[in-house]
Amino acid sequence: TQLLEQSPQFLSIQEGENLTVYCNSSSVFSSLQWYRQEPGEGPVLLVTVVTGGEVKKLKRLTFQFGDARKDSSLHITAAQPGDTGLYLCAGGGGSNYQLIWGAGTKLIIKP
């Protein structure tokens, strides 16, 4: 069974600080997606990484896919209160429709 573990489960930091959240597995995934979910809303796709070692940047957010395609990280530089939310990673396995989801990292950025 493929599992994705996210860490930390909860993170509360001050505005302006940097942070990294992790998504780890013992399984290889064909690709990895990161979503952000705000209260009362569904998840919104931030990025998809498909190649081992791939790095993608989205403004202050940097996403990296591990060389072995078993893990991924999300780094936020100079966090803003608008970054607050639940960050979910989801991995694509053998099925072409079913994603394997992590439990999420709840991030709070205090002004």
């Binding site: 064909s30 809303e41 569904g42 429709y97 079913q98 989801w101």
Partner: protein, 116 residues
């Protein structure tokens, strides 16, 4: 509307009652997905539709759960004889086509179900 809509947004019901949850996907999206999200947990895949067909129903938690899609558009998820452990947020997503990570899934806001 431009996005996926779900109704009701909140539902409180008594144990043993049946509930019906509705999802309106983005117009033209052929693939539709249902997920369940419990508090503090990730998403649990329930079922997907390609058009009106649901080829794989193995993700449904029990035979009390059923789903249908008509006209390649609206889908309903029905839970019969609800139990307290059914309490969760039920999310619907749609994508232009069925293609896993090649197709972005757009999520609705969810239906928050509370079974008393």
């Amino acid at each position: 509307g431009a996005g996926v809509s779900q109704s009701p947004s909140n539902k409180v019901t008594e144990k043993g009652k049946d509930v019906e949850l509705r999802c309106d996907p983005i117009s033209g999206h052929t693939a539709l997905y249902w997920y369940r999200q419990s508090l503090g947990q990730g998403l649990e895949f329930l079922i997907y539709f390609q058009g009106n067909s649901a080829p794989d129903k193995s993700g449904l938690p029990s035979d009390r759960f059923s789903a249908e899609r008509t006209g390649g558009s609206v889908s309903t998820l029905t839970i019969q004889r609800t139990q307290q452990e059914d309490s969760a947020v039920y999310l619907c997503a749609s994508s232009l086509a069925l293609g896993g990570l090649g197709e972005t899934q757009y999520f609705g806001p969810g239906t928050r179900l509370l079974v008393l």
